[in-house]
């Protein structure tokens, strides 16, 4: 996108400065570029938004936070014209507007990065960015050279290094996220809403995104920023609005509040945000040993072992091969070399059924693609991993099933009108909880978690850490991949670091530090 680089010599905030000067006396009363008034939206069984009034000032970065299912995504979809509110009005720049689809919102200068991926897998990066409305040249024919050049230019400006001809299906989760960001910036938006843009990218890309956001702000573009990572929100936002159960609780200037205050407003009570401690419970018994494993063409010769009762963290940048490695161990991807030993016995795991038979479970990083059967109910999704547990004779015992499901819904705080709700209608964070519940229910010995807390709110994260501690106390073992370094460090007994498909080192005890991990991850 060219406008990003326009006027490079203007000082920061110059354009807003000019505006303020011309509007003379109004300098103290800043203009609201967006006002959403009394928005109500109900779904069958849920009042997702209840008379929500939300206002955003011109040129600010406005944080929107709240627990899973609070209504953040719903509010943004209403703004974007994807959902029609039951009542309420939207005012953009002083003019009341109604949008019937995303295109109309876009024409009004509003673009949204959706929480879930919104890309066509079979098409190229370039085509996805301008989907359906590609630049045409002579006689209405698409000017592909131009389209690709524009896309490449846009990505380059954002500092991303991509082949724009690559099909989206060949991209990793993080790369897809970067394409989403580029896509939102490709239309000349005045207001850009970002629904958890950092949930699947690592520190390096987050820093890049933040510098982009700051540049956008300099150009007078307004940003609405949704995230569960409060330190990010506090770092980048000018003001923060808290949403709870479909109600606006408060809007605060970021510098006048603290994470602790925001959290207590979100949850309705103060929350302990430390990682829960657990006594050392590691047994000597090695449950899983991986010897010189290679897979996916670039992950080479990785060896490590996992003890009973241990939490092993796998750290590394996005794209370093972490996901590929655990997929290969579980049988979701072919091994191209090396051996996997379980309880000291060599195994030949060829598919996921084999992995399951050796009592392994894998919580995959992409809940929508590989984690859930979206059209099925929450209950069905949870029990699928261990139906035997619920069977009396050849039939599933419905009562037993309901009791088990209810237990997980309660423990994880999954917000849903009923366990019979199709998971596609749950909020993003609640879907993630469903994926976790499914594998917690399976009671496997070795649980592999790939980005387990992606999109999960602070309160529920703590619950999940407690559940992990419970599991290891019961003698299970856990492998955890996470892009959130503090989480890996806070929860792991031992950490291995992967870098470009190679194991770069192993840290345990006091040697585990952010500096040590990062230096191995990027060297």
């Amino acid at each position: 996108m060219r406008p990003l680089s326009s006027n490079p010599r203007l000082p920061h905030g110059f354009s807003t400065f000019v505006k303020q000067k011309t509007s003379k006396r109004e300098t103290s009363v800043e203009k609201y570029i967006l006002e959403m008034r009394d928005i109500t939206k109900t779904f069958p069984g849920v009042k997702a938004l209840d008379k929500v009034s939300f206002a955003v000032k011109q040129g600010e970065i406005h944080g929107l936070v709240g627990e899973n299912g609070a209504g953040k995504s719903t509010l943004m979809k209403v703004l974007n014209g994807v959902l029609v509110p039951d009542s309420g009005t939207i005012v953009v720049d002083g003019v009341p507007v109604t949008f019937r689809n995303a295109k109309q919102a876009q024409a009004c200068g509003i673009s949204l990065i959706y929480q879930e991926f919104n890309l066509v897998n079979t098409l190229s990066v370039a085509e996805n960015i301008y989907l359906g409305f590609l630049q045409t040249g002579r006689a209405k024919f698409i000017d592909w050279t131009r389209v690709r050049a524009d896309a490449a230019h846009l990505l380059e400006n954002l500092g991303f290094d991509f082949n724009v001809r690559e099909k989206v299906q060949n991209l990793s989760v993080a790369e897809k996220q970067l394409v989403e960001i580029a896509k939102a910036l490709s239309v000349n938006a005045r207001i850009i809403a970002m629904d958890e843009p950092t949930s699947s990218i690592t520190k390096k890309e987050i820093d890049k995104l933040f510098s982009i956001i700051r540049r956008l702000k300099e150009r007078g573009i307004t940003i609405i920023y949704i995230s569960h990572k409060l330190d990010e929100v506090m770092a980048i936002c000018d003001s923060v609005t808290v949403l709870r159960d479909g109600h606006i609780i408060d809007t605060k200037i970021a510098t006048e509040t603290s994470s602790a205050e925001i959290i207590s407003k979100m949850v309705g009570r103060p929350v302990d945000m430390k990682y829960p401690r657990r006594p050392p419970i590691i047994h000597d018994e090695i449950v899983l040993e991986v010897r010189k494993v290679s897979c996916a063409g670039f992950v080479k010769d990785i060896s490590f072992s996992l003890k009973k009762g241990e939490v092993l963290g796998i750290a590394g940048l996005v794209g370093s091969g972490r996901t590929e490695l655990v997929e290969a161990i579980f049988g979701a991807r072919p091994l191209q070399g090396g051996d996997v030993y379980i309880h000291g016995r060599r195994t030949s795991i060829r598919n996921t059924a084999d992995g399951k038979r050796y009592s392994m479970g894998l919580v995959t990083e992409d809940r929508k693609e590989t984690g859930l059967a979206l059209h099925y109910s929450l209950a069905d999704n949870i029990v699928i991993t261990n139906l035997q547990k619920l069977c009396s004779g050849i039939f599933v015992n419905k009562k037993l099933m309901q009791a088990n499901v209810d237990q997980y819904v309660q423990e994880l705080g999954i917000k849903t009108p009923s366990s019979r709700q199709a998971v596609m209608y749950l909020s993003g964070g609640n879907q993630q909880k469903a994926v976790l519940a499914k594998w917690l229910f399976s009671e496997v010995e070795i649980l592999i978690l790939d980005e387990p807390t992606r999109g999960i709110d602070v309160g529920a994260k703590y619950e999940i850490y407690l559940l992990m501690n419970d599991l290891v106390k019961k003698g299970k073992s856990i492998i955890m991949i996470s892009s959130e370094l503090p989480e890996v460090l806070g929860m792991s007994d031992r950490v291995i670091v992967i870098n470009e498909g190679r194991k770069k080192g192993e840290l345990c005890g006091d040697a585990i530090s952010p500096e040590a991990v990062m230096s191995m991850a990027i060297q």
């Binding site: 994807v82 689809n101 995303a102 295109k103 109309q104 876009q106 959706y114 919104n118 890309l119 066509v120 897998n121 079979t122 098409l123 085509e127 989907l131 359906g132 409305f133 590609l134 045409t136 209405k140 024919f141 698409i142 592909w144 991303f160 290094d161 991509f162 082949n163 690559e166 060949n170 991209l171 990793s172 993080a174 790369e175 970067l178 390096k204 890309e205 996916a296 063409g297 670039f298 940048l317 996005v318 794209g319 370093s320 991807r333 072919p334 191209q336 470009e500």
Partner: protein, 322 residues
């Protein structure tokens, strides 16, 4: 940020990656050795005529599959076009009017299919199963199950016209192929079929009128069925409910052999043309090799499955090493 790895691949690898090309060359070489007379100009010419007539309809099937839909009624629409075209010719004696009306009829039938699928939300498999039976019934009522024929001079001229030694059918197909390929590859209207079939929800959110795209793909199919039917009339100067009963499935097979996934969002007409070439060559070869007619279906079905299996195997191998 990890850079996306592009595997270079040698020419042989490229060949294997395009299963259909591999198959085509393999087959030609095989026939050249086993039965060199198969590759006479006369034979090739007759293969190309068949490819042209079926290929026109297969283009439509490809567009439908790209958009994530499917049409079982193609064979019935094709029959109806033959019957209607002949009747119109015999009654009006005016070829342009007959052609225009037959095209219009195809457009209407296709659009009806499309509207039932998109507005009434009935799965395209069920919808076209229904219309397939209905249109077939219509043909039978119309003809009393008898063969109909025409000896219109213009049609006879088109049927026997040649240019540079090639039948006019071949040029009709070529033009259709070029136009449709151009639309698919280089217009927003065409690219929206891919978006719609690739991910309906994403396409909708991008502001694409997905119902329109789907309906349009059925309408195009209707028109192409009419063109195909009229081409057959020009060739045989007759029409019957017996001609082209296997058309729908042959078109699907050609699309799949060409390398288009049934799941939608990918593919193109040129690939399907190659797929159709493979199928028609196979049909002819079976006859040529003197295989009893009853065995032919057996072999055709087997080949379809083998090709798709091979293709899957190759793409899985590529995915593994990516």
């Amino acid at each position: 940020m990890s850079k996306i790895k592009v595997n270079k691949g040698n020419p042989l690898e490229l060949m294997f990656s395009q299963t259909v090309l591999f198959l085509l060359f393999g087959f030609i070489i095989f026939m050249a050795i086993v039965k060199p007379s198969f590759l006479t100009w006369w034979n090739i010419h007759s293969i190309l005529i068949d490819v042209s007539i079926y290929g026109v309809v297969a283009c439509g099937m490809t567009i439908l599959i790209i958009s994530g839909e499917f049409d079982l009624s193609a064979s019935s629409q094709y029959m109806w076009a033959q019957v209607l075209f002949i009747s119109l010719l015999n009654v009006t004696k005016n070829p342009p009017v007959s052609i225009g009306l037959t095209l219009l009829s195809g457009l209407i039938l296709g659009t009806i299919n499309g509207l039932v699928v998109t507005k009434l939300h009935i799965n395209s498999f069920i919808t076209t199963l229904g219309t397939m039976t209905m249109i077939r019934g219509l043909c039978l009522v119309f003809t009393n199950g008898k063969m109909v024929s025409t000896d219109n001079a213009f049609i006879r001229a088109v049927g026997s016209a040649e240019f540079l030694g090639m039948s006019s059918f071949f040029y009709i197909y070529l033009v259709a192929l070029l136009i449709l390929s151009l639309i698919l590859a280089a217009t927003n209207f065409g690219r929206r079929f891919y978006a719609t079939g690739g991910n309906l929800e994403v396409a909708r959110l991008a502001g694409i009128n997905t119902a329109f795209q789907k309906t349009a793909s059925f309408s195009i199919m209707g028109i192409l069925c009419s063109i195909g039917g009229m081409m057959l009339v020009a060739q045989l100067r007759a029409g019957s409910t017996q001609y082209g009963t296997d058309l729908s499935l042959t078109c699907v097979a050609a699309t799949v052999i060409g390398g288009t996934r049934l799941s939608g969002g990918a593919g193109n007409c040129l690939r399907t043309a190659l797929g159709m070439l493979v199928i028609v060559m196979l049909y002819k070869a079976l006859v040529y090799l003197g295989l009893q007619a009853y065995y032919q279906n057996l072999v055709k079905g087997l080949v379809l499955i083998l090709v798709v299996m091979f293709d899957l195997f190759m793409s899985r191998r590529r995915a593994m090493t990516r």
